[in-house]
């Protein structure tokens, strides 16, 4: 475990479409077996007043997420970040990413390691 977590993933979950590219990109990168991945996606249907509801997908890094250190060292984006079909995942130093929070709603900053 890193003593000083420095990097994280900023996710704009307003636009996550639940395409699962992140999960499978991670499986391919690290050879995880089916069912396991460094990224998982939760589907949530939240009932709202007046009989309405909101369908939301939330990608989150699991215990297997290594923030793609082997890729980022080579100057590449993490596998999930590059392949996200909706372009909703950003990787970077937590401090920089945190500045983007509040600029628009429905964002979450993960600090997995």
């Amino acid at each position: 475990m890193a003593k000083n977590p420095q990097y994280g993933l900023l996710i704009d979950y307003e636009y996550c479409t639940g395409c699962y590219a992140c999960r499978v990109a991670c499986c391919q990168e690290y050879g995880h077996e089916a069912g396991s991945s460094g990224m998982q996606v939760i589907e949530q249907v939240q009932p709202l007043p007046k009989g309405k509801a909101y369908l939301c997908f939330l990608p989150f890094p699991t215990e297997l997420c290594v923030l793609c250190a082997p890729r980022t060292k080579k100057g590449l984006q993490p596998a999930c970040v590059q392949h996200c079909m909706a372009n909703v995942i950003q990787w970077g130093p937590l401090e920089e990413l945190s500045k983007q929070l509040g600029k628009k709603p429905r964002m979450v900053l993960w600090s997995p390691r």
Partner: protein, 813 residues
């Protein structure tokens, strides 16, 4: 290849593999001839480095242990699952002999060539069929209900098809100064997990939403878009045309249309005879006049003026044509008749749809329709993207006409950010598609004569060059006007996926003398073939893609045992069937297909993709104004009149209602209240999975773990009424049959509808009958009929049927 035996191949996705309609640029990492990784190409303008779950799972696909790797010959009964491996030479010899025998005894049209969705099969299956001499290429879905109905319906009234503009013709895309982000987009029956239908990249819409595009979602399900829409119109499946008429009602009543555009570019001013209800022609008023010239009323001279179709202009250049009014016309025989304008005819047709009435038909509140129509019509630009549910109802053509009228009269046609005419890149056309003749064609018109359905349905002689599918199935049984003896099935799972009423299709297969199936994995359909041939993924072949943009090459990265690309299989047999077969090599054929681009195939392979320059007829914008659409270079459209036809002259010729309207389809609670008593829920099918392409990918572990079982979505209240809990197995049943699904109790469906996923089978179960990989337990198509195609042969009730649900027994849980 580098010293380590590793290399990276830049190529293009299409078909087998991700299964999709293609277009993504990818980098295939190859080591010692094996795929070790695949990534999106960050420098490709289409996907810009992104890639879907199915493409990212290619390493598990290419080397999958279930894959067909050798040609197989059936040694048991059909469906018994007994096979022997044979060599390619043996397979080709056997197929050649059997098919030539049928050709000799029954004629070439006695072999039907069956394909699935519009992928990298169409040109090559046509090449084979035409070399054999048969015009009978079949897209095996009832009512040919995927894309070609939409294209045919749109081409009929505006000449060229159009798609939403995401800057796909421009290398810099959204950053190109010529491009405009739409203020509003209607997403009509399309859900994002399908990702890339119709040769578009679905997530472009997400890019646009982030840039401010507001969404109007039309969908009975609470989709991604419905959740994020400014207006969500929860339409009853099958009632879309009524909704479109409601939109038109608002646009006309509130004058939200571009009147000068309507006058200049549509046949709105043309006159309809009150006595016959048909268009007034020059030949009506002058016995020597043309039947294809029409009349309008010139306000300048208060006299009729001729629309000269050949000149694509009114005979009086200064004519000020009336859009409205009732006019007295003297016919050639001296009699006097009354005429109204097409525009007034449209008004009358639309007036039959007051919003309260539309609300009753569609279930969408009148005020929501009004608000959505206002938002769309007042947004400049605005665009519409629609999904395959539009095709999946028999009244598809008048529905498309209504929607096309909407984008045309609001000034959103061929403008940046609107709905933009689209043609194959560089006009490079491989095979006959609506409005375009390809390099691959029948030798002469006479060969096309026996094509099934061509004698019955107008669009099948103008736009759709396949057989009419429902009639084809019928003909296998009736043998009239001639018998069908052979079937070539290529990457098309008739029994497990595309065939409605699959038990009827099984009966049809049993009746045939000879069946070949070409596929990548054994499936329900290959079990019924006499010879099974192992096909290749996109990574194992050279290919070419021009549908729509950019022009792309597929570059071969590797080989897998004896698997062969579809094109090579068909090429070899085409040479054997046709002594005059034109090409010596596949690359020679590709050279000819992409000739309009000015490149050789080798040059294209180096580039991988190419966009045509501005000013090319295949590139936007405003082409009807610039005269870029028509071969004669005159401003206008490639319709019979040269105008956008608010009143369709072709539909008049085909004796169908020439104006947009709603037709209540079969098998709805409205058309069949009697059945609805026993089967009270609307059954809708076919919602997409993010990890599957129709029946494909169930063998891919990374993908299967995400979506492991057939699912039926049921609203919590409906589930409670039926004592069904989330995750329990349930039967979905109607008068045709039943299929078993896992209940997903969810608010995404309304109480009155269930959504059953389609094309389900279990590759891990026994392939031989009676199990047939679980097809007869889980295929929802067992509840959907063949033979309910639309009046023009297009469209079929696939998105709307009726059913009841009940919990499966203890042992079935």
């Amino acid at each position: 290849m580098s010293k380590s035996g590793s290399n990276i191949v830049r190529t293009t996705t299409w078909s087998a593999g991700p299964g999709c309609h293609g277009g993504c640029g990818v980098l295939a990492h190859i080591k010692d001839g094996k795929l070790v990784k695949i990534e999106g190409d960050p420098d490709h303008p289409w996907n810009q480095g992104r890639l879907c779950a199915r493409a990212l799972a290619m390493t598990q696909y290419v080397e999958n242990p279930d894959r067909l790797r050798k040609p197989l010959r059936r040694v048991g009964e059909r469906g018994e699952g007994k096979w022997e491996e044979i060599s390619w030479d043996e397979a080709f010899d056997l197929i050649e002999a059997r098919m030539k025998k049928i050709r000799q005894e029954q004629g070439p049209e006695s072999v039907v060539f069956s394909m699935g969705t519009g992928r990298d099969i169409g040109p090559w299956i046509c090449m084979l069929a035409y070399a054999f001499g048969s015009p009978n290429v079949m897209f095996a879905l009832s009512g040919n209900a995927c894309y070609s109905p939409r294209i045919a319906a749109i081409d009929a009234v505006q000449g060229d098809f159009c798609v939403f503009d995401a800057g796909q013709w421009l290398e810099k895309r959204y950053d190109d100064p010529r491009y405009k982000v739409p203020e509003c987009m209607i997403i009509w029956g399309y859900n994002i997990p399908a990702t890339c239908p119709d040769n578009l990249f679905g997530h472009w819409i997400i890019d646009l939403m982030k840039k401010g595009t507001k969404i109007i979602a039309i969908d009975p399900r609470l989709s991604f878009f419905a959740s994020r829409a400014k207006h969500w119109l929860q339409v009853r499946p099958g009632a879309d045309a009524a909704l479109a008429m409601g939109f038109l009602r608002v646009v006309l009543d509130e004058t939200l249309y571009d009147r000068s555009w309507v006058k200049r570019w549509t046949n709105g001013p043309h006159l309809i005879r009150e006595d016959t209800g048909t268009l007034l022609r020059e030949s009506d008023i002058d016995a020597t006049g043309s039947e294809t010239n029409y009349l309008a009323w010139d306000r300048q001279k208060e006299a009729p003026v001729i629309w000269d179709t050949g000149a694509v202009a009114y005979s009086e250049s200064k004519a000020d044509c009336a859009l409205s009014g009732r006019f007295e016309i003297r016919l050639a025989d001296g009699s006097i008749i009354q005429c109204n304008t097409v525009w007034d005819g449209l008004q009358t047709q639309v007036a039959a749809y007051p919003l309260e009435e539309v609300e009753k038909i569609t279930g969408v509140p009148a005020e929501d329709i009004q608000a959505a129509a206002r938002l769309y019509a007042n947004s400049k630009p605005a665009s519409i993207h629609w999904g395959v549910p539009i095709d999946m109802t028999p009244g598809i053509s008048p529905l498309c006409h209504a929607i096309a009228t909407l984008w045309a009269i609001t000034g959103n046609l061929d403008v940046p950010g609107g709905n933009v005419f689209t043609r194959p890149a560089f006009n490079a056309v491989a095979y006959a598609l609506p409005g375009a003749e390809g390099v691959i064609k029948l030798k002469d018109q006479a060969q096309d004569k026996p094509r099934i359905g061509a004698d019955r349905y107008g669009p099948f002689n103008r736009f759709v060059w396949r057989t009419q599918t429902d009639l084809t199935l019928e003909q296998i049984f009736s043998e009239k006007p001639y018998p069908i003896k052979g079937l070539w099935i290529q990457t098309c799972n008739l029994l497990g996926n595309i065939g409605l009423d699959p038990k009827r299709w099984r009966e049809a297969l049993q009746k045939l003398d000879f069946i070949v199936a070409v596929d990548l994995f054994p499936n329900a359909t290959t079990q019924y073939a006499d010879v099974v041939l192992p096909a290749a993924t996109f990574l194992e072949k050279d290919g070419v893609r021009s549908w729509w943009v950019p022009l792309q090459s597929i570059n071969k990265a590797l080989s897998v045992e004896d698997c062969k690309p579809d094109v090579e299989i068909n090429f070899e047999l085409a040479r054997r069937f046709d002594p005059d077969f034109k090409w010596r090599t596949v690359h020679e054929l590709y050279d000819e297909i992409i000739k309009p681009s000015g490149m050789s195939y080798k040059q294209l392979q180096e580039k991988v993709w190419a966009l045509a320059p501005e000013g090319h007829p295949s590139v936007p914008y405003h082409r009807h104004e610039k005269g870029l659409l028509r071969p004669d270079g005159k401003p206008g459209f490639t319709t019979p009149t040269g105008l956008f036809e608010l009143y369709s002259t072709l539909r008049e010729e085909w004796r169908l209602d020439p104006l947009p309207h709603h037709e209540e389809p079969p098998w709805t609670p409205v058309s069949r209240p009697d059945l609805a008593k026993e089967y009270p829920l609307i059954l809708s099918t076919g919602r997409r999975s993010p990890v599957y392409f129709h029946s494909e990918h169930r063998q891919i572990p990374w993908l299967r773990s995400i979506d492991p079982d057939p699912v039926v979505e049921i609203h919590p209240e409906t589930a409670e009424q039926h004592d069904i809990g989330d995750g329990e197995w349930v039967w979905v049943e109607n008068w045709m049959g039943r299929a078993r699904f896992k209940a997903k109790v969810t608010l995404v469906v309304p109480t009155w509808m269930v959504m059953a996923t389609h094309a389900w089978w279990y590759p891990e179960k026994k392939g031989a009958e009676p199990e047939l990989y679980g097809t007869w337990e889980h295929n929802i198509n067992m509840l959907l009929p063949m033979g309910d195609q639309g009046k023009d042969g297009l469209g079929a009730p696939i998105k709307h049927n009726l059913c009841r649900i009940y919990k499966a027994g203890y042992q079935e849980q």
